[in-house]
């Protein structure tokens, strides 16, 4: 276990579950060296003994890298059909489960998890996600947000941060990377009045595990937006994914918080407020911004504005 020098007996019940339960996801998949996406998938079956998990995936890195026929990394039932429809597909799975339970043809307790990247969630899959959440299916949607369409070769998405260079927002004489601020999908999900919405980061697996357990335990739709750095997309070294996610959280670009039945809780509050520049300039996708202090200033202003909003919401819902 990382971040712990103690014995299993000293760990929290959640952490013990995480360590003791069998995993979900085999190694040998084709994810890039250093990609952190497999971290959360391994936790899926570990969240509870009370139920089993059936998972669905949008098309994307995680899907293609984990299921190249005749191989599969998935040790739990898993389904993929297309890019933009994972929530609708799993709505059907979950609806069928409810139908079979009602007819007395199914007795097991099952829970349903949907996974997608920011492309399949913020963009092409947004309608399907919104519909599934609004209808109230017992689904947990986990978006692993790496800030661009990484699977197809780093094209910008609506989750791409201001100023990031991607293959469709390249740097040139007239271009300084992505224009405008990223979409705030977590707020859109909050507008669905879900019982549980959270932002998490792959660098803090205790916080992530606790949130996954809460989200999946919750009866009804729930949503987790998970910061998950991409080695080639962010242009960072293969051993830097966890560290980069940590920096993203520590500079308040990606606050860790959860909203339970409308009540906001900030889960991590940096003791020293760091500027975004440390995080931004540790990544190749932003290096051109050294020549664009105006963009950096706008980036910092947006981060500060969103943090202020979050603190205000937390105070308001106390």
């Amino acid at each position: 276990m990382i971040e712990s020098s103690g014995t299993l007996a000293e760990l929290s019940p959640e952490t013990k579950l995480m360590c003791e339960r069998p995993g979900t996801f085999s190694g040998g998949h084709r994810m890039c060296a250093g990609c952190p996406t497999g971290l959360f998938t391994k936790m899926l079956t570990r969240v509870s003994d009370e139920y089993e998990i059936v998972a669905g995936n949008a098309t994307g890195c995680l899907e293609v890298a984990s299921s190249i026929f005749p191989y599969s990394s998935w040790q739990i039932p898993w389904i993929h059909t297309a890019f933009e429809n994972a929530s609708a597909m799993m709505s059907g799975v979950e609806a069928c489960y409810r139908s079979l339970v009602r007819q007395g043809k199914m007795r097991k307790k099952l829970k349903f998890v949907v996974m997608g990247g920011d492309g399949g969630t913020y963009d092409i899959g947004l309608q399907s996600l919104s519909g599934a959440m609004e209808r109230g299916h017992d689904l947990t949607y986990i978006c692993y947000d790496n800030g661009a369409y990484m699977n197809t070769g780093v094209q910008r998405s609506s989750a791409t941060p201001l100023g990031a260079a991607t293959t469709t927002t390249p740097v040139g004489s007239e271009g300084s990377g992505r224009k405008g601020n990223r979409k705030d999908l977590t707020k859109i999900m909050l507008a669905h009045n879900l019982g549980y919405v959270a932002q998490a980061s792959i660098h803090d697996i205790h916080d992530l595990f606790r949130k996954m357990k809460k989200a999946i335990d919750h009866d009804g739709p729930s949503f987790i937006n998970l910061l998950s750095p991409c080695i080639p997309g962010w242009k960072i070294d293969a051993d830097m994914a966890v560290e980069s996610a940590r920096q993203g959280v520590e500079c308040n670009f990606w606050p860790l918080f959860e909203v339970e039945n409308g009540k906001f809780t900030i889960n991590y509050r940096p003791t020293v407020k760091k500027p975004v520049t440390d995080w931004v300039f540790s990544q190749g996708r932003f290096k051109h911004l050294k020549k664009h202090p105006d963009v950096i200033a706008a980036f910092q202003a947006e981060v500060d504005k969103q943090w202020a909003w979050l603190e205000m919401e937390e105070a308001r819902t106390k």
Partner: protein
């Protein structure tokens, strides 16, 4: 599920859409996912009342689009359920991507398709551009002249689609408004008799079986994709046999015999019209009239367009002198889809060599009257007497500015 009728079939006045909703009630699927679109809306509305009244066990997923409807159907089918949907036109076009996925995953999803013109320009009336466009998606397509046929096809659908030698999705097509909204009398079979005929659904590698976890929808590259597509093709080839077997059993049970196509006064016909769906009714009326005047004319009405029974149709057209095909959809820059299939069947499987003529008609709900059909037959006679089709080939019927 309550209020099952037990007793004799009833003759009822009902629309085509209403008839399909009744079939869905009797089939009692585990999941229905659908999004309303004219002219299939009544199917979804009627079925909703069956759900609200507890007449079915179905979980009805009121999805936000047809794309999500088909996605939810695939998910529910993978979860081991018997699954149905209904749509039309742009609704099915929006499902397009997932139609292929349903077929390649061998999910026996059942669809009631009410044929309507595809948008461009927008139009709500009947033609077959929706289902003909989807002909390569891997779905079994059964067509229906009347509300009775639409109902009967849907009652047979589950047993065909779910047959272990087939395992493919199936759409039952009927003409928008002409059939879907017209009240005709038909025989509504007894609930329990239908339930017994359809039988229980047997799940196949259910994704809810956590003891045997299955990966559905893996990435298939150059090393396996084509084998899986070949398997899908085999299911479709097997469907020719299974459709006939289930149809024969349906005839034994309910007394109405269906085949892969209907031959109407074909035996000695020199002029044969080939058509799909409701226009066959008008054609039969004209044939009966012309037969009294000695014209040797018949009809071959398609029921199974996918799979297409080339050999049987080729043989059925062996004695024809001219075959005139009426397509209710256009393939721009090419002959209509039905004409090309009939040409293939005749060239490869007919012992004779009839003239072949193709016409396009009825796009966007444009009517084809008895007079137009008489004209098509008399033109066919002229071609036959001349021994050539000439510039009549590819004519569009009843179109302003076109001579026909």
């Amino acid at each position: 599920m309550s209020n099952l009728t037990t007793g004799k079939p009833k003759i009822v006045p009902i629309t085509g859409a209403g008839a399909c909703a009744q079939a869905m009630r009797q089939i009692n699927p585990d999941v229905v996912a659908a999004f309303p679109i004219t002219p299939s809306t009544q199917i979804v509305e009627d079925f909703s009342t069956f759900v609200a009244n507890g007449q079915v066990d179905t979980e009805f997923v009121t999805v936000e689009s047809e794309h999500s409807a088909m996605s939810a159907c695939i998910g529910a089918s993978a979860a081991g359920g018997r699954v149905m949907t209904a749509t039309s036109s742009a609704g099915m076009a929006y499902m397009w991507e997932l139609l292929y996925v349903a077929a390649s995953m061998r999910q026996p999803v059942l669809m009631s398709l009410v044929n309507r013109a595809l948008t461009g320009p927008i139009n709500i009336h009947c033609d077959h551009s929706d289902s003909m466009g989807a002909r390569d998606a891997g779905w079994i397509q059964l067509y229906s002249e009347t509300n009775q046929e639409a109902y009967d096809n849907l009652v047979m659908a589950a047993r065909i689609a779910e047959h272990p030698d087939v395992r493919l999705p199936l759409m039952v097509c009927q003409d928008g408004f002409i059939i879907s909204h017209s009240i005709q009398t038909m025989q509504l079979e007894d609930d329990k008799a239908v339930k017994a005929f359809v039988g229980p659904h047997l799940p196949y590698h259910s994704i809810l079986d956590t003891a045997k976890p299955v990966t559905w929808g893996a990435l298939d590259l150059q090393d396996y994709y084509i084998e899986h597509k070949r398997g899908q093709e085999q299911g479709m080839r097997n469907a020719l046999r299974v459709i006939q077997e289930v149809s024969d059993d349906f005839a034994k049970t309910f007394g109405r015999q269906y085949n892969l196509f209907e031959d109407y006064r074909l035996e000695d016909a020199e002029i044969v019209l080939v058509a799909i769906n409701s226009v066959a009714g008008e054609i039969k009326e004209v044939i009966d009239e012309l037969r009294t005047k000695g014209e040797k004319v018949g009809l071959l009405k398609i029921r199974s367009f996918r799979p297409f029974p080339y050999e049987q149709i080729g043989q059925a057209l062996s004695n024809a002198k001219i075959v005139t095909v009426l397509d209710r959809s256009a393939s721009f820059g090419a002959h209509g889809p039905l004409f090309t299939e009939i040409s293939t069947a005749v060239y490869n499987y007919a012992s004779g060599r009839p003239l072949l003529m193709g016409h396009t008609f009825g796009l966007g709900g444009r009517e084809l009257t008895l007079r137009h059909i008489e004209h098509v037959i008399s033109e066919s006679r002229i071609c036959l007497d001349k021994g050539e089709v000439g510039n009549r080939q590819g004519m569009w019927l009843n179109v302003r500015g076109d001579k026909s």
